[in-house]
Symmetry: D2
Subunit: 161 residues, 4 copies
């Protein structure tokens, strides 16, 4: 079973620019993370975009949807900023059939030594392998069907609606 990971950016992949003190995107760290996790899954990593999910437009979401439909794999993980992850899931959910697509992200950048990114990546890859076809969000150890998930921005956690 091959899995496709579509990287779109988000906190997951942010880095610290030590010259100006700002956060920015360079490349995805997914290859590093998979190596550190000793993953031996067959995974094709593809960077679709590298942006903050607050800056995602309908066009960006259309591209993510199109790629989910185009790729040959039946099992897809989308790494995504947490702020609008539920919104993107809501775009993918009604259209995608016959594939298991799992969106995940992180509250703290991988490069800041946090562990929620690699924990979430682990859960997302597992859910993508075994959940029935459909679109899901994998955060905080749980999976949420696309039509019943939101981010609680006060608490910084995902919850069912």
């Amino acid at each position: 079973m091959q899995i496709r990971i579509l990287a779109t950016g988000g906190t997951f992949d942010k880095e610290y620019n030590e010259l100006n003190g700002e956060l920015f995107f360079k490349d995805t760290h997914l290859a590093d993370m998979l190596r550190l996790g000793r993953s031996h899954l067959e995974i094709a990593v593809e960077t679709l975009m590298m942006i903050d999910s607050l800056q995602m437009t309908a066009d960006h979401r259309a591209r993510i949807l199109a790629r989910c439909l185009e790729v040959p794999e039946q099992h897809v993980v989308v790494t995504h900023g947490t702020d609008t992850m539920a919104e993107t899931a809501g775009v993918l959910g009604p259209v995608i059939t016959g594939k298991t697509v799992v969106l995940t992200g992180a509250m703290v950048p991988y490069t800041f030594g946090s562990s929620d990114g690699i924990f979430n990546l682990g859960t997302a890859l597992a859910f993508a392998q075994v959940l029935p076809a459909g679109v899901y969000v994998a955060m905080n150890g749980s999976y949420f069907p696309w039509h019943s998930v939101r981010k609680n921005r006060i608490k910084g956690v995902f919850e069912s609606v």
Copy 2:
């Protein structure tokens, strides 16, 4: 859905004794790891033993089996040394019915800043939630049914047999 984690030790929970340069066990780091992973799952962590899996005897395995059967949860994760993880799975597999039990571990101690422990914990918790009843090993991003898994000690990875 509540999940029970039974900690038995293994590389996962080893620490470095800076006075004598040896590895040892103190307490499990599961609470820290779940906190860093921003897990919001309902989890009961229970330390059954804190040993190297090379020192596990039939008695130890009988205790693990007994606890898997006794606990009220239908979803159980067992953290375990990798060297004899497949052997313990082979003890649990033929007896446990109606529960999903997932064994996992790490190649590098959590306290050494490695990431395979927290990645594996993520996959194990996800598999424990969605795989059908049975006993599995979750390592290297994959799950393996108890009757068809071994550790390749040369490569340091788990593979199907």
Copy 3:
């Protein structure tokens, strides 16, 4: 020999707010850093302020100067943002006599798993113990007398002028 550390903030002590993705100050991490460095020096840590050095005014610098003069220790380390560290050194330098005062900081926050903060802290504490009375900046492994140092903001390093 007792050493006083006066914490003023700077990148050294910044943290990541995972709810809004911004950097902020809470408490200094100096106690943690000294513990991880296995320091057995007699050190009194005192937080004077917790601000970005770009927001430092003449009043802030006057307070730092006053505290350097008031404290009983002859050996003082000031942790400080790098952007205006040389400017503060220029305020302290002409006034302080009979004490060794060393300013240091970091390019990457300690909480981001960087190592320049703890490396710089090591050099600053060593320089504060053995350099003759005077005011210095300790960055990039070197010490610079207060009257001949500037931050090269393009390269992100300190250099002699």
Copy 4:
């Protein structure tokens, strides 16, 4: 001012072999550590040996002494296991004149995410630049002249004798 670092091994440079769970030596991590510390010192790193200091013989110490004398630099840092660091200092001390030689090490391997190695490296490089000619041990934030230092193995700290 150029500084020579002579690496001899010790806990500083130990790594974890995830296949057999043992600690071993591969290469020194000094280049990584200097890069993370944003050092801009002129430093020549040279690996003399890569061993545990409990396995150091009189021959090994004679090699270290010979190299300290031969290298053109007046400022030398020797990275060394902590267990017999004081003994090696006792071999170098009576012979070396006109150079500042500072021995340092770590209680926890750099690769285990510890911070005492990089903290100690910072102090050692600073002491090597400014202490008068002589042989010293730099540990726990302090420097100790070669003739009055021992490791307290119960506490894991260096102290004056």
